[in-house]
C-alpha cells in the first residue's frame, strides 16, 4: 500500500546524540595559538577528536532527553547509555517514563537491535534500513572516524560567543558511506572540544545544528587517562524548523561494567 514516510521520529536523533555523548579521551591541544591551520594540522586535530571517542574502557551514563517537536507535545525520557568500544558494543536502556521503560537499543558489532518489552520483540536494523522511518542509519551510531572519513578544509579562525574557534569544513572522502557528506565543525582553539557542528546534505543544504556548550572531564582507570564527555547536547533540526532535541548527561561512570551485559538476555531481564 502506498505509504507516507512516517513522521520524523526522535529516538534515532536521541541515539545519535547519546552516541556523541560517549567518552572523549583528553589529548593535549595541537595548536592553540596559530592563526590558521595547515591540512596536516587539521588532520591531526581531527585525529585528536577521533581518539577521544575511542575509549577502550567501559562507559555508563545517565541521560535526560527532552524532545520538542513543532506542534507536538513535549516528550522526555531518562535512559542509561552503556558502551564498550573495545568490543564495538553499545546499549541504551530507557528507564523513564514508565510507558517507555525497558525499551532498549543494543549494538553488537555491526548489528543494531531494538527491543520493546511491551510487545516482547527484538528487531534487527541493518545498514540499509532507515531507523524508525527517518534518515538516520546505523552508521550514525558508530564511533567518530572524522580523520578517516573526511577531508578537512579551513574556513577560518572565528569567535563563537566568548570562545575562539577553528571553523573547519569537512567533505566526505570518495566511496565512504557517511550519514552527512558535509560537516562543519567549530572547535575550541583552547580545549579542542567541539562546540558546534552543522550537518549538511550533499547539496549543501543545512540539516541540523548541534551545540555542545559544556563538557566534563572524567578519569578512566582502564585507560589511565581522562576522558571528555559533553554534558549537554542541543540539537536543532534545520529542516523541520522548530524541532529540537536536548540531552543532558546527568552522571557518568567509567568503572568496569559486568562482562555479560551487552546481550539480549540482559536487556530483556531489565524489564521482566
Amino acid at each position: 500500500m502506498p505509504r507516507r514516510s512516517p513522521p520524523t521520529s526522535r529516538p534515532p536523533t536521541l541515539l545519535l546524540a547519546l552516541a556523541l555523548a560517549a567518552p572523549i579521551a583528553w589529548c593535549a591541544p595541537a595548536d592553540a595559538q596559530g592563526e590558521a591551520l595547515s591540512t596536516e594540522q587539521m588532520v591531526d586535530l581531527l585525529k585528536v577528536v577521533d581518539d577521544r571517542q575511542r575509549n577502550s574502557g567501559d562507559y555508563k551514563s545517565l541521560a535526560y532527553i527532552e524532545q520538542r517537536e513543532k506542534d507536538k507535545e513535549l516528550m522526555v525520557y531518562e535512559a542509561v547509555v552503556y558502551r564498550r568500544d573495545a568490543d564495538d558494543r553499545f546499549m541504551i536502556l530507557f528507564t523513564r517514563p514508565k510507558a517507555e521503560a525497558g525499551k532498549g537499543y543494543l549494538r553488537i558489532d555491526k548489528n543494531l537491535f531494538i527491543y520493546d518489552p511491551t510487545v516482547g520483540k527484538w528487531e534487527r536494523r541493518t545498514e540499509r534500513e532507515r531507523i524508525g522511518g527517518t534518515d538516520s542509519r546505523r552508521t550514525d551510531f558508530d564511533e567518530s572516524r572524522l580523520a578517516e572519513e573526511y577531508d578537512p578544509s579551513y574556513v577560518g579562525r572565528e569567535t563563537l560567543g566568548k570562545f575562539t574557534v577553528h571553523h573547519l569544513k569537512l567533505t566526505a572522502k570518495k566511496d565512504v558511506d557517511v550519514a552527512y557528506p558535509v560537516l562543519e565543525l567549530w572547535i575550541d582553539a583552547d580545549s579542542q572540544n567541539i562546540l558546534k557542528a552543522q550537518d549538511r546534505a550533499l547539496s549543501g543544504k543545512l540539516m541540523r545544528t548541534v551545540y555542545y556548550p559544556q563538557w566534563v572531564k572524567v578519569f578512566s582507570e582502564s585507560k589511565g587517562a581522562e576522558v571528555y564527555v559533553p554534558k549537554e547536547i542541543h540539537i536543532y533540526d534545520e529542516v523541520e524548523k522548530g524541532n529540537q532535541t536536548h540531552v543532558v548527561i546527568r552522571s557518568v561512570d567509567l568503572k568496569s561494567l559486568p562482562a555479560n551485559i551487552f546481550t539480549k538476555a540482559w536487556l530483556e531481564s531489565q524489564s521482566r
Partner: protein, 707 residues
C-alpha cells in the same frame, strides 16, 4: 389579425404543423438534433445519478456514514479513503467522544454516532532465520526442551538453504571477500560441535552460540519485510451493526470489550498475500472477469512469466514432509517433467505447475489453491495470530502494541475494489494506545522528570548567545575520579503489556469517554443529508464543541469528488453539443424564415401583428421540440432501461467502487426526463429567437415585391 386567443392559438398550431410538414428536410435535421440531445441528457444524467447513488452506497455504508464530524481546527481535510498525506494527514482530535455522542445522538433522525480514528501502523516481519532464532532463544530462556529441539532443526534447515544460496552467489560474484566471510560463519554454525552446548546445561554457552547466529549469520540472511497497514480504530460491535455492508469473511468479530484486529480481506489479498498467489489471482481475474487473454496482453504475459519464476519461493517454504508429499502429487500431475541440471525434482515440478497460458490457467489455478496453497504461508498472518503494530504517536515517538487478529472482513459488493481495502479495523483502545493518548498520571510523570533537570528552553535564534555568551562559562567542568554526578537509575517500572496479545478488557464507558479523531453519523432512512448536516453543526456549535460537520462526499477525500468531476465533464460535453445544436437550429430556422418572406409578408398584409408572427415561428420550434424531445426522452429511457436490465460491467476496481458492485444497473427517473425536455425546449426557443425576430421585421410590401 383579430379573433379570440383560443382561435388565434388554434390557427398558430395549425400553421406550425403545416409549416413543419411542408419543410420536411429542415424539420428532420432540427428534429434529429433535438432527439439526439434529449436522449443524451436522459442517458447521461441517469447514468450519473446511478453512479452517484452507487458511490454513496459504497462510501456511506462502508466507512463514512452520512456525515462525519472532526476537529474544526484540523490542518487537513478528512479523507477516509486516503488523502494526500500518505497516512500522515492531521485531522486534529476530538478529546471526548462521549460528549459528542450525547449531543448528536439526541437529535432527530440520527440513528448512530460511531467513534473513529485513522492511523498508519508498521508491521515488520524479520527474515525466516531471524524469526526462527528469536523463537529458539525464547525456548532456551524458558527451558522449553521440546520447542528447542524442533527449532534447532528448523534453524539447521535454514542454514542449509542459506549455504546453498551463498554458494550460488559466490559463483557469479567477482569480489567474494564478504561472501567468503558469510560462508565461513554459516559453515561454522553447521558443525555438530557448534550445537553441542544446546544439549547441556551451560546457559551462557547457549547464549553465546545464539549471539553468534544473531550477529554473524543472520545478517546475511536478508532483512525481512515491512508492511504498512492503515487502520481505523472504532467501536467494533457498533460498526458491524450500522455499516451493513460489513461482513466477516473468516474468523469472528472482536468480542465486546476486547482488544483485537480485523484484517481487511481486500487489503490482505492485494498487499500481504504471497506474491506468486497474487499474480495467479490477477491472471485468473483478468481471464474470468474481463475475458482477457494472456496471449493478447503483454502485461498479463509478463505476470505469467513472473509467476513461473517464483517457484523457488514456494519450495523454500515447504516442510520436509510437505515437500515429499507435494513432489508425489506434482509428479502424478506432471509425469513428463524433468529437472534441468542443478535443479531439484520439486523445483522443476513446481515450475511446471506455475507455468500457465490461456488453456491451462483455470486448471492450474485450481491446482495451486487445492494442492500447494494449503502447505505454504499465503499471508504473513493467520486468524488467531498476535501481530505487533508499530506507529508514531502524536508526540512523535514509536509505540508498539500486540494485537490479536480475530478475523478478516470485507464490504459486500465491493470485494474486488481496492478502495474498499482502505482500512483495517481495530478496537478503540488499541487505536488510543498507538495514538499515544496519555493519562493525567502519565503527563504528571513527564512533568516530574522534566522538573528534576530543569533545563531552560533555548530557542534556535538565541542558542549561541545563551550557550557561549556567559561571562563565567567554562567549557570544562572537571570531575574528580571516574564518576561524575549522582548515578541513581530509576528502577524500571514498566506499564502493563505482555508478550502475548494485550487482552486487557475494557468497559463501554472507558471506550466512549476518550479521544477519537472523527465520528460517523448514521442518519435514519429518508432524512435529508444537507438538512441533517446543518442541524448537527448547529447542535455541536451550541454545545461548544469545536467540530466541523461534513457530508460523506467531502469526508471520503478525492474519491468523493470523482462524481463531481464526471458531472462537470458530462455537463461540458452536453453544453458543447447544445451550442452546436443551437447554431444548427438557428441557421435552419433562419433559412426557413427567409424562404417564407412572402408568406409572412402576406400575413402581415392581412393584418397579422408582429407578436403573432413571433409566436408563429416560436411555436413551430416549440412543437418540433416537444415532439422530438418526447421521442428523444423515450429513446433515452429505453436505452437506460436496457442498460439497467443488462448491467454495465465494472471493468476495474475503481468502477466496482463507483458502481457499488460488479455491475451498474442504471435507472431512469422522472426528473431525468423532465430535465431533458426542459433543456431541449429552452435550447430550441433560444435558437429560434433570432430567426423569429427577423420574421417580425418582414413588411407586407416585401410579400408584394416577391410576388
Amino acid at each position: 389579425m383579430a379573433g379570440s386567443p383560443v382561435a388565434q392559438a388554434r390557427v398558430l398550431a395549425q400553421m406550425a404543423l403545416r409549416s413543419l410538414a411542408s419543410h420536411k428536410v429542415k424539420s428532420l435535421i432540427v428534429g434529429s438534433i433535438m432527439v439526439f440531445g434529449t436522449a443524451l441528457v436522459v442517458v447521461g444524467t441517469s447514468l450519473l445519478d446511478s453512479v452517484e447513488a452507487g458511490m454513496e452506497r459504497s462510501i456511506v455504508k462502508s466507512l463514512s456514514g452520512h456525515l462525519q464530524l472532526y476537529d474544526a481546527e484540523a490542518k487537513d481535510d478528512l479523507a477516509l479513503f486516503g488523502g494526500t498525506g500518505m497516512g500522515g494527514d492531521d485531522y486534529g482530535e476530538v478529546p471526548d467522544f462521549g460528549e459528542v455522542q450525547r449531543v448528536v445522538q439526541a437529535l432527530d433522525g440520527v440513528e448512530a454516532v460511531v467513534p473513529m480514528g485513522l492511523g498508519l501502523a508498521n508491521m515488520s516481519r524479520g527474515s525466516e532465520l531471524d524469526r526462527a532464532l528469536d523463537a529458539l532463544r525464547r525456548a532456551v530462556e524458558d527451558g522449553d526442551a521440546a520447542a528447542r529441539v524442533a527449532l534447532i532443526h528448523r534453524v539447521q534447515r535454514l542454514l542449509e538453504l542459506m549455504h546453498a544460496d551463498l554458494a550460488n552467489s559466490r559463483a557469479i560474484t567477482a569480489d567474494t571477500t564478504e561472501l567468503d566471510a558469510n560462508l565461513a560463519h554459516v559453515e561454522r554454525a553447521q558443525q555438530d560441535a557448534f550445537w553441542a552446548p544446546f544439549a547441556g546445561d551451560d546457559l551462557a554457552a547457549k547464549r553465546a552460540a545464539l549471539d553468534f547466529l544473531d550477529t554473524k549469520v543472520a545478517p546475511a540472511g536478508g532483512d525481512g519485510v515491512q508492511y504498512y497497514l492503515r487502520y481505523l480504530g472504532t467501536d467494533l460491535p457498533l460498526f458491524a451493526r450500522v455499516f451493513d455492508r460489513f461482513r466477516i469473511v473468516e474468523g469472528q468479530p472482536v468480542p465486546e470489550g476486547r482488544r483485537g484486529l480485523l484484517m481487511n480481506k481486500r487489503f490482505a489479498d492485494s498487499q500481504l498475500k504471497l506474491k506468486v498467489a497474487r499474480l495467479l489471482d490477477e491472471l485468473h481475474d483478468a481471464a474470468t472477469l474481463n475475458d482477457a487473454r494472456i496471449a493478447d496482453d503483454p502485461a498479463l504475459a509478463a505476470k505469467a512469466r513472473q509467476a513461473r519464476s517464483l517457484y523457488g519461493s514456494l519450495t523454500l517454504m515447504l516442510s520436509p514432509e510437505d515437500a515429499a508429499a507435494l513432489t508425489e502429487t506434482l509428479r502424478a500431475a506432471f509425469p513428463d517433467v524433468q529437472p534441468t541440471e542443478g535443479q531439484s525434482d520439486l523445483d522443476a515440478l513446481m515450475q511446471a505447475a506455475l507455468t500457465v497460458d490461456d488453456d491451462t490457467l483455470k486448471a492450474r489455478y485450481a491446482f495451486f489453491y487445492e494442492q500447494i496453497a494449503p502447505r505454504v504461508e499465503l499471508y504473513p498472518f493467520r486468524v488467531g495470530d498476535v501481530l505487533t503494530l508499530r506507529a508514531f504517536t502524536k508526540r512523535g515517538y514509536m509505540k508498539s502494541v500486540n494485537v490479536k487478529v480475530y478475523g478478516t472482513f470485507e464490504f459486500a459488493g465491493l470485494e474486488r475494489s481496492e478502495l474498499s481495502g482502505a482500512a483495517n479495523l481495530v478496537d478503540l483502545m488499541t487505536f488510543r494506545d498507538l495514538y499515544g493518548q496519555m493519562t493525567e498520571a502519565q503527563q504528571a510523570e513527564l512533568k516530574a522528570i522534566q522538573a528534576e533537570v530543569g533545563l531552560e528552553r533555548v530557542d534556535r535564534a538565541d542558542a549561541e548567545a545563551a550557550f557561549f555568551g556567559g561571562a563565567d562559562d567554562s567549557v570544562e567542568k572537571v570531575a574528580d575520579g571516574s564518576v561524575f554526578g549522582d548515578f541513581e537509575v530509576a528502577r524500571i517500572e514498566r506499564e502493563a503489556g505482555t508478550r502475548v496479545a494485550d487482552d486487557r478488557p475494557f468497559t463501554r464507558e472507558q471506550m466512549l469517554d476518550g479521544v477519537v479523531l472523527n465520528a460517523a453519523v448514521i442518519l435514519a432512512d429518508g432524512v435529508a443529508v444537507d438538512e441533517a448536516k446543518a442541524r448537527v453543526q448547529a447542535a455541536v456549535d451550541a454545545a461548544g464543541l469545536k467540530l466541523k460537520v461534513v457530508d460523506w462526499r467531502a469526508a471520503s477525500g478525492v474519491i468523493g469528488q470523482f462524481v463531481l468531476v464526471i458531472r462537470g465533464v458530462l455537463l461540458l460535453a452536453i453544453g458543447i453539443i447544445f451550442i452546436v445544436a443551437l447554431v444548427i437550429i438557428n441557421n435552419s430556422m433562419l433559412m426557413a424564415t427567409l424562404e417564407r418572406v412572402r408568406e409572412i409578408g402576406t400575413l402581415r398584409a392581412i393584418g397579422a401583428q408582429r407578436r403573432f408572427v413571433m409566436a408563429m415561428v416560436m411555436l413551430e420550434t416549440l412543437v418540433l421540440g416537444l415532439l422530438s424531445g418526447g421521442v428523444g426522452a423515450g429513446l433515452g429511457a429505453a436505452l437506460v432501461g436496457w442498460m439497467g436490465d443488462v448491467g454495465i460491467p465494472a471493468k476495474n476496481d475503481i468502477l466496482v467502487f463507483l458502481f457499488s458492485g460488479p455491475r451498474l444497473h442504471p435507472t431512469v427517473g422522472a426528473g431525468n426526463l423532465l430535465v431533458a425536455l426542459v433543456v431541449i425546449l429552452v435550447v430550441s426557443l433560444i435558437s429560434t429567437w433570432y430567426p423569429a425576430r427577423i420574421a417580425t421585421r418582414v413588411q407586407p410590401v416585401e410579400a408584394m415585391r416577391e410576388a
